[in-house]
Amino acid sequence: MRILLVEDEKKVADIIDRGLKAERYAVDVAHDGTAGWELVAAYEYDLIILDLMLPGLSGTEILQKIRAKNQQVPILILTARDAMADKVKNFEAGADDYLTKPFAFAELLLRVKALLRRGPVNRSSVLRVADLEIDRLSQNVRRAGKKIELTSKEYGLLEYLATNPGRVFSRTMIIEHVWDQSFQGLTNIVDVYVRHLREKVDDPYPVKLLRTVRGVGYSLNDETQP
């Protein structure tokens, strides 16, 4: 999988570059709009990550040029602007997703994966983490074959963590997916729900699945298994 990253802030580009390479993606980096456009014209990419505020060609201009060529490549917009009007404008110009700085790398990675997976993705209706089973259709949760009763928010939280076992989800990501942006200021709501979820999912069992990564967030996986 080859990804093009157009980002003028060298340090931001560097972090994303390293992070994506660690996930075994091939990454090309351009530090201004003109260089970015030359790369787009020269190579075929599976995904383009585009900063909006660029020297040379602006991100929006590159976006329009790519779509004028009618390329189907998915584009993820990276920006410090998050006014609704901007979002709408760029989605209309053909962006596939949108991420506002500052973001957690984990979130960027999730979105990159989601965009690359687009198309015929075989999404199983049952998620499995160790002996935990989450049925997305019936919203039934079982552990070691025993049914666990969850409230709707508890279920939403567990299902979200289970989509990427082992990946650490930040509180901000969890709030945006399980609640909505209005709850942004209320990060301790995640801690409270995770605690309640633990009481039901982890406490009665010897193997603990819900893991707290201090300062980063939460993840769901069986640490005893490599």
Partner: protein, 488 residues
């Protein structure tokens, strides 16, 4: 009536001044006229007396005293003209006296005899019993010497008073009555006219002052309408070239300076939060990678985690500042739609239920009836979240929170009341200020920057809503948001 107001004082000054001038003019006019009239009557009588002396007395030695008396009677007919005429010889003998006037206002016989002095004219006023005044002018007259034969004759009889040697006194009098009546009427008119004039002056003065102050009132009104949100507008300038134009021009300059300050502070917040995002992204990314670095020992992880927490807090503040600056800039109303505030409050309370349960706080909601309003649903949800979040944060375990949504007098009223620690009264006016905290100890554990309520306030302002708070320390607080109801 405000006695200290400039209009009241101006009217009082104006009225007193004009009334004073009016009184002064009236007094001068009245006494001047009186003086003039008396003078004129006196002159006329004096003239007539002299006429009698010159034409009739001059020849009295030839014609005889009886003839003169007869002539006066026929020529002047004093009784018909209500005049008084008396001719007296120096020895006191009355040669002629007019009869009673037709109006019977005086009795000529009772007029005291004049004491003719040597050679001078005189006049006097006699106050009659009926309240009337008779002005009497008199002339002392010595008929000129006659022929030498007569002089010889007179010399021959030195002891006998001859006509040639006699001096006469002519007195002519007229009543001042008609003029006095006129003056009385004038006095009455002036006395009645004065209060009327004072009322008219005061009324006119008030109208004038009001007219003069009208532009000031307009300028005040226009200045009131200019707030933080439309500070780019200017007041209309009255091109009158006077103090009012100067006032409006200098007010406009002041508004321009304020506008600059507003714009600068807004731009600063927007730019600062924007510029802070990139370094925060870098910090966060680097620390995230460090946190997952297996080479780090437990203490290292602990430190990185602590740094990550602080970065998250910084990021949150930057986000809130950015949200505020967008609200300041006045977001477009494109995302406005009508919705049920009661339903929004209920579901939000449900989503936060576990937060309250965790502290054994009971949230009772009274929001069963739909209350339709129009606005940005996501933003108003944030209002509910922030208010409920605050209530939960500042209410001790086992407390109670009451949430209610009602339609009251054409307004949607959302209330969040708790029985928590409350807010001291001196802090109440500032709770919606940016970065304000009641005291540092209160929010030290919660890690909030003091922006939640300012966001609530900004969102409310953007929706034309009012937000107010009542609170008693240790008894609880009540936040109330008043929104306009949706009118279809």
């Amino acid at each position: 009536m405000n006695v200290r107001s400039i209009s009241f004082r101006l009217v009082v000054w104006y009225t007193s001044l004009l009334t004073g001038i009016f009184i002064l003019l009236g007094v001068l006019f009245y006494f001047g006229l009186q003086h003039f009239v008396e003078n004129d009557v006196q002159q006329t009588q004096m003239h007539r007396a002299r006429q009698i002396a010159d034409t009739l007395l001059a020849r009295i030695q030839q014609t005889g005293e009886a003839y003169v008396a007869d002539e006066i009677k026929t020529l002047y007919a004093p009784e018909i003209n209500d005049r008084f005429i008396r001719l007296t010889r120096a020895d006191g003998r009355v040669i002629y006296v007019s009869g009673a006037p037709t109006d019977g206002s005086f009795n000529p016989g009772e007029i005291a005899a004049a004491t003719p002095g040597p050679g001078s004219d005189f006049s006097r006023q006699i106050h009659l019993p009926g309240g009337k005044t008779l002005l009497v002018a008199g002339v002392n007259f010595q008929p000129p010497n006659q022929t030498s034969s007569q002089q010889t004759l007179s010399r021959q009889t030195p002891n006998q008073q001859t006509p040639s040697q006699a001096r006469y006194c002519v007195e002519v009098g007229a009543l001042l009555d008609p003029f006095e009546a006129m003056l009385d009427r004038l006095f009455l008119q002036l006395a009645l006219g004065l209060p009327l004039a004072a009322v008219i002056i005061a009324g006119g003065g008030w109208l004038l002052v009001r007219r003069a102050l009208q532009p000031v009132a307009q300028i005040t009104h226009a200045a009131e309408l200019i707030t933080q949100h439309n500070s780019s507008e200017r007041m209309p300038v009255a091109r009158t070239g006077d103090e009012l134009e100067k006032l409006s021009v200098s007010l406009n300059r002041m508004i321009a300076r304020l506008d600059d300050a507003f714009q600068n502070s807004k731009r600063f917040v927007a730019d600062a939060s924007h510029e802070l995002r990139t370094p925060l992204t870098i910090l966060h990314g680097e620390l995230e990678m460090l946190a997952e670095d297996a080479r780090l020992d437990a203490e290292g992880h602990e430190r990185v985690a602590s740094m990550l927490e602080e970065v998250a807090r910084l990021a949150k503040i930057v986000e809130q500042l950015f949200a505020l600056s967008r609200l300041d800039a006045g977001e477009a109303q494109t995302e406005w739609q009508p919705f049920d505030l009661a339903e929004l409050a209920r579901t939000t309370a449900e989503h936060m239920g576990l937060l309250a349960e965790d502290k054994h706080i009971a949230i009772s909601s009274d929001a069963s009836r739909p209350v339709l309003i129009e606005g940005d649903r996501a933003r108003l949800k944030q209002v509910v979240v922030n208010l409920l979040g605050n209530a939960i944060k500042y209410t001790p375990e086992n407390g109670a929170i009451q949430l209610s949504v009602n339609a009251v007098n054409g307004h949607a009223v959302l209330e969040v009341a708790d029985n928590g620690i409350g807010i001291p009264s001196e802090a109440l006016p500032h709770v919606f200020d940016r970065f304000f905290r009641v005291d540092s100890a209160r929010s030290a554990d919660s890690g909030s920057a003091g922006l939640g309520l300012s966001i609530v306030k900004s969102i409310c302002t953007a929706h034309g809503a009012e937000v107010e708070v009542e609170s008693t320390v240790r008894q609880g607080s009540c936040f109330r948001v008043k929104l306009p109801l949706f009118k279809n």
